[in-house]
Symmetry: none
Subunit: 224 residues, 2 copies
DNA sequence: TCAGCCCATGAAAATCCTCATCATAGAAGA
DNA sequence: TCTTCTATGATGAGGATTTTCATGGGCTGA
């Protein structure tokens, strides 16, 4: 489970990160608007903690960017004051929850858990792309109502590509997502080729072709 | 994020700076030993890139100076040769990571990211437990200075257990950590048994026993 | 003591990663 | 424009790792 903490007060961000790491989440941090935007452009998170008061730009624009990218990341706004306008604006722009500072870390933990759970078990967890249907909580894939059995990595790859549809994802980013390890950004990424190939093969055998495009020298893309 | 590049080859320093600036870091450069010392005396950096072969003084002395000043700056050594002695000396003197020339800029970027992140989370890079030594960036484990080869999951498990030493970790938490997937909190966790068993076996074959305790009905614990 | 759950273990199956080889896109130059 | 060259991607096979499964032993509470 990956969390992005968008927060410019370093001490707060760090104590949140420490707490969440203890709770077995993987955390990343962004301290500025630009940093936040570049991270959400590249990666996907299970939950994003968003401070609305950011140096370099309005936090609400981060929400708009998420929406524009059609990202499914859960978002919890953490705002300096319990401003009703902020709350309404935030929830309206696509946030999943709202938490006013100061808050207890355990409360934050509970909210995160609930956002992720809602995302996982809610109705929005079935992706449908023409003849392709993906039930994320159940980890099942159907093509024209016939089941296709994918391995865990293949399934992850598929969901990740679709979650970033029409955008090229670099091989390194795919490698990192699949291995869950930043260190693997460094080594060789041959295994990505293998998973792409196997996924393409299984999908096309089921009659679902031409979605995964190779962007030579850049990565792969789900095109729709 | 501020980076100090201590490197006398001007072209290399410049191309690193250009790359890192693109990645939204602020860069400063030092081309000589004296220049480096005066900069670290005055300023603090999120990460320092240190070439050990410097005109005017040994790069390791820069590390000693940092230590003397009790600075917390992260340090990545970029060494002309892939010399084991350099690595060991560097890491012992307080560097956070090392990188042998020539390297890809993206690799450097990943290491910087990881060093900064680790600093934020307060983790260190080499764990030592009596006869057991773990080099996290290199993913190497030694028992009484003899290498032990662990698989990725075994390594992850070991680091996670030690990172929570003297605390019982539930099987579900271990399962989630190893699989990187919250959904696996629900299913069966038999594979944890297998990894625990294999890790115990490899460690004890190397002469490192009795650290991993089973807490019946509750989980496992690294006891020290 | 005994029942019932929990863990340990070995082996087999499934999955994943690596490696060597081949194919192809894009770049560079004629 | 055509050819050649180089880096990148595709592919299949093999080995390594991970996960599952079945069986047996041990802990704990009644």
């Amino acid at each position: 489970m990956k969390i992005l903490i968008i927060e410019d007060e370093r001490e707060l961000a760090q104590s949140i990160a420490t707490y969440l790491t203890d709770e077995n989440y993987r955390c990343e941090m962004a301290a500025t608007y630009d940093d936040a935007i570049s991270k959400i452009d590249i990666y996907s998170y299970d939950c994003i903690l968003l401070d609305l008061m950011l140096p370099g730009g309005d936090g609400l624009k981060v929400l708009e960017e998420l929406k524009r990218l059609q990202k499914q990341d859960g978002v919890i706004i953490i705002s300096a004051k319990d401003s009703l306008e902020d709350k309404i604006a935030g929830l309206h722009t696509g946030a999943d929850d709202y938490l006013a500072k100061p808050f207890h870390l355990s409360e934050l933990g509970a909210r995160i858990y609930s956002v992720i759970r809602r995302k996982q078990f809610g109705n929005s967890n079935i992706l449908q792309v023409n003849e392709l249907k993906i039930d994320i909580p159940a980890k099942k894939v159907m093509v024209s109502d016939k089941p296709v059995t994918l391995t865990k990595k293949e399934f992850d790859l598929l969901v990740f590509l679709i979650g970033n549809k029409n955008r090229v994802i670099s091989k390194a980013a795919l490698a990192e997502h699949l291995s869950g390890d930043m260190a693997d950004m460094l080594d060789n990424h041959d295994f990505v080729y293998a998973h792409i190939k196997n996924l393409k093969k299984k999908l096309s055998e089921a009659g679902c072709t031409d979605y995964i495009k190779t962007a030579y020298g850049m990565g792969y893309k789900w095109e729709q």
